[in-house]
């Protein structure tokens, strides 16, 4: 019975989290529609978060590019199909592996940072200070970070995925005698716009999930009695787990719904 009760508690908590997330999303969208979000703050946050995540994206892009090359070369070697290596690598980079790993990376870097900043603001009276000015912290502090997270993941998609593809081509040419010109020709010939749009929409979705999860986890600190450093750490952990789980589940759902077709 105790196990069932504990399980029920976890399910109720997660259901509550999901409901709160959906409510936050609805309010954020409604506020965005009425242009109530602080535009200057949103731009400032986008600039900060974007450049803060550049090193991680560069390192991750190089690593993922290497993995894509090695996996792709296996099939090239097995089926002697060097002309489709570029196409397969582009599918991975722009639509499948690229957005998924980029989403996970951004959850760890941008999401954790947003959660930590907002949780500290909630715990250390900074949101109260904003309220004392007669401002609502949501459109002035919280939602600009949410929009900035979505903007960053959208902005990162093209350069990061192109980096993945470029590294994959170079690695394949170095270790597999795969000619770069053949790879580029394969991309130009076989990759259609739908693939690119699919990947970009995934990144927007992942950015929204990371932004909502991290903001929700942070704001929960203010509603709780415990505002210690431990509570802030738990909020960052919860935000990261929620973001990563959300990205993985959303990726699976999009793929099942025909996103890979």
């Amino acid at each position: 019975m105790a196990v069932l009760a504990a399980l029920g508690e976890v399910v109720l908590q997660r259901a509550g989290d999901l409901g709160a997330l959906l409510l936050s999303a609805r309010r954020a969208l409604a506020a965005g529609g009425r242009l109530h979000i602080d535009a200057v703050e949103t731009l400032r946050q986008t600039h900060r978060l974007f450049f803060d995540a550049v090193p991680l994206v560069l390192v991750a892009g190089v690593a993922v590019g290497g993995v894509v090359a090695m996996q792709g070369l296996m099939y090239v070697a097995r089926y002697s199909a060097s002309e489709v290596f570029g196409w397969a690598a582009a599918l991975s980079a722009y639509r499948d592996v690229g957005p998924l790993l980029l989403g996970c990376g951004l959850a760890a870097r941008i999401g954790a940072r947003v959660t930590a900043e907002l949780a500290v603001m909630a715990a250390r009276e900074r949101l109260d200070a904003v309220r004392a000015l007669g401002l609502d912290p949501e459109p002035t502090v919280v939602w600009p970070r949410l929009v900035a997270t979505v903007a960053c993941s959208t902005l990162f998609w093209a350069p990061a995925c192109t980096l993945v593809l470029g590294v994959a081509f170079v690695v394949a040419s170095l270790i597999g005698d795969q000619r770069i010109a053949t790879s580029v020709w394969s991309v130009v010939s076989y990759v259609d716009a739908g693939t690119l749009v699919n990947g970009l929409l995934r990144m927007v979705l992942f950015g929204l999930i990371v932004g909502l999860s991290s903001c929700h986890a942070a704001v929960s600190v203010e509603a709780s009695e415990d505002r210690s450093a431990g509570a802030i750490g738990r909020a960052v952990y919860a935000g990261s787990v929620l973001s990563l789980a959300g990205v993985v589940v959303a990726n699976a759902v999009v793929s099942l719904l025909g996103g890979t077709g």
Binding site: R44, D128, R131, E225
Partner: protein, 230 residues
């Protein structure tokens, strides 16, 4: 400038603390100090006056508030922290007002500094500049000298309280009997959310100031019960 009139304010804080009833009247230029042990309800009273905690008190005054932790946006410069307030309160020429407020607290040359580049006293002065820049009709100071050395304490108090009859009604929560209380007009002592003393500062010493700082028995063990853990 209007007086602050509070009649039988009641509020509920975190941890189940119930505040009130609290009544007080503060004229423009007057300063009321709120004393009491940790958990007595000082910060809750200020939060209720600022409209940050649910209470029976409502007003439409422009509030300037200095928080215990300064509560600055760490990602913004000193200037941006103050300018955000002046813009939010529709102060005419908000950037100029922010610069003037920072200059008035002696930070005219630290406009571009981030809060983490400032000392504790300077951070508190930025918070004070932010509160004063909006030309508040009610000034609330939550332990503005906590953690400051005596010299910085005197500097901050001189800036916050030394502005004569043009100053707004000011309510200040503090633990500092030596530096703060002699500078205020009235004192309010809270104990577990209830007012146990209200009067002039010199009456407080006769009443027994020690009572204002007696720890709540449910929050702090007595020294006799304390055990060194090693």
């Amino acid at each position: 400038m209007r007086a602050l009139e509070v009649i039988e304010l009641r509020a509920q804080g975190r941890g189940g603390l119930v505040l009130g009833p609290v009544s007080l009247r503060v004229e423009p230029g007057q300063v009321v100090a709120v004393l009491g042990a940790t958990g007595a309800g000082k910060s809750l009273l200020l939060a209720a006056l600022a409209g940050l905690a649910p209470s029976t008190f409502a007003h439409e005054l422009t509030v300037g508030m200095v928080f215990q932790s300064a509560a600055l946006d760490e990602a913004c410069s000193a200037f941006d922290n103050v300018a955000r307030a002046t813009r939010a309160r529709n102060v005419p020429s908000p950037e100029d007002a922010a610069r003037a407020a920072l200059a008035a607290v002696g930070l005219g040359d630290a406009l571009t500094k981030l809060p983490r580049q400032l000392s504790g006293g300077m951070r508190r002065r930025v918070a004070l500049a932010r509160a004063l820049a909006v030309a508040p009709e009610l000034l609330l100071l939550d332990d503005p000298t906590a953690g400051l050395d005596p010299r910085t304490t005197r500097e901050v108090l001189a800036l916050a309280l030394g502005r004569g009859s043009n100053a707004p009604p000011t309510v200040l929560a503090t633990h500092d009997l030596d530096e703060v209380v002699p500078r205020v007009d009235r004192v309010l002592v809270l104990e577990a959310g209830r007012v146990v003393f209200a009067g002039a500062p010199d009456e407080l010493s006769r009443h027994g100031a020690a009572r204002a700082f007696a720890p709540r028995p449910d929050l702090a063990p007595s020294l006799a019960e304390a055990r060194w853990p090693f």
